[in-house]
């Protein structure tokens, strides 16, 4: 059966915003400070902090204080849960289609 949890919901939510996806994409190439992200995305420091906060909540991003700046990096989100959920969802749907196909063939005498 499909596995759902609140973290998964929050992860979906975190990924639903194009700016946050842009931040993740940028961070997949290496760490960046809040200021660098603000400049890159044309946002205020507070705007970036807000987005980073959402990503941080689900561990998609971690931040570290380095001197006077805060450096952001990709985090250690529990993607095992997320990937397991997608895989389980995929298997469930695949199973439904297969059962339905077999049902129609059994009913019509198809060879399968």
């Amino acid at each position: 059966m499909q596995h759902h949890n609140a973290t998964l919901d929050r992860t979906f939510f975190a990924l639903s915003d194009p700016t946050r996806r842009g931040i993740l994409e940028r961070l997949s190439g290496g760490s960046a400070t809040i200021g660098e992200l603000a400049a890159r995305f044309g946002l205020t420091l507070n705007g970036v902090k807000k987005h980073v906060g959402v990503l941080e909540e689900v561990d998609l991003v971690t931040t570290t204080k380095v001197g006077r700046s805060r450096e952001c990096q990709l985090g250690s989100a529990e993607l095992a849960d997320v990937t397991a959920w997608i895989e389980s969802y995929r298997r469930t749907l695949e199973g439904r289609l297969e059962r339905f196909g077999a049902y129609v063939e059994a009913r019509t005498g198809g060879d399968g």
């Binding site: 059966m1 499909q2 759902h4 990924l15 997608i86 339905f100 198809g110």
Partner: protein
Amino acid sequence: MTHELRFERLIDAEREVVFDSFTDPDGQTAFYGQDQTGWIVRSECDLRVGGVWTVEFGPSQAELYRHRHVFEVIDRPRRLLLTTTETRLDGSSFDTELEIVFQEQDDKTLMTMVTRGFPTAELRDEHRVGLPNAFDLLDQFVRARPQMSQAKSDDL
């Protein structure tokens, strides 16, 4: 941006038969069925655009999942488009869009099922103007993951 959960099955039956089976109670029960003893499927379908198809399914009365589909497009025998709200055991819900295309292939029917997932109803509505779906996003992120730098655990 076009990655989705997509499945295909070549079914040895005419296209009209496959389409009609999918929209009749027995076919819908087969779709949600499982071999498990005692597996429950209850399906009620109002087959018209804007009509609702509700399905309750699960291993026991105490563990029933619920899908509420709304028919957005009914193009017999070619295509169906449904929006689905899936309600979990804890009462929370998850929205998806399900598109089913039936194509003739020799004397058989290629049934293609595409699911796009959305964390909220608002995002589902926005999707209509091009927002990538939740499965895309997760898939992209999971793929990007091997390139990630190691996270540090310093205090924030």
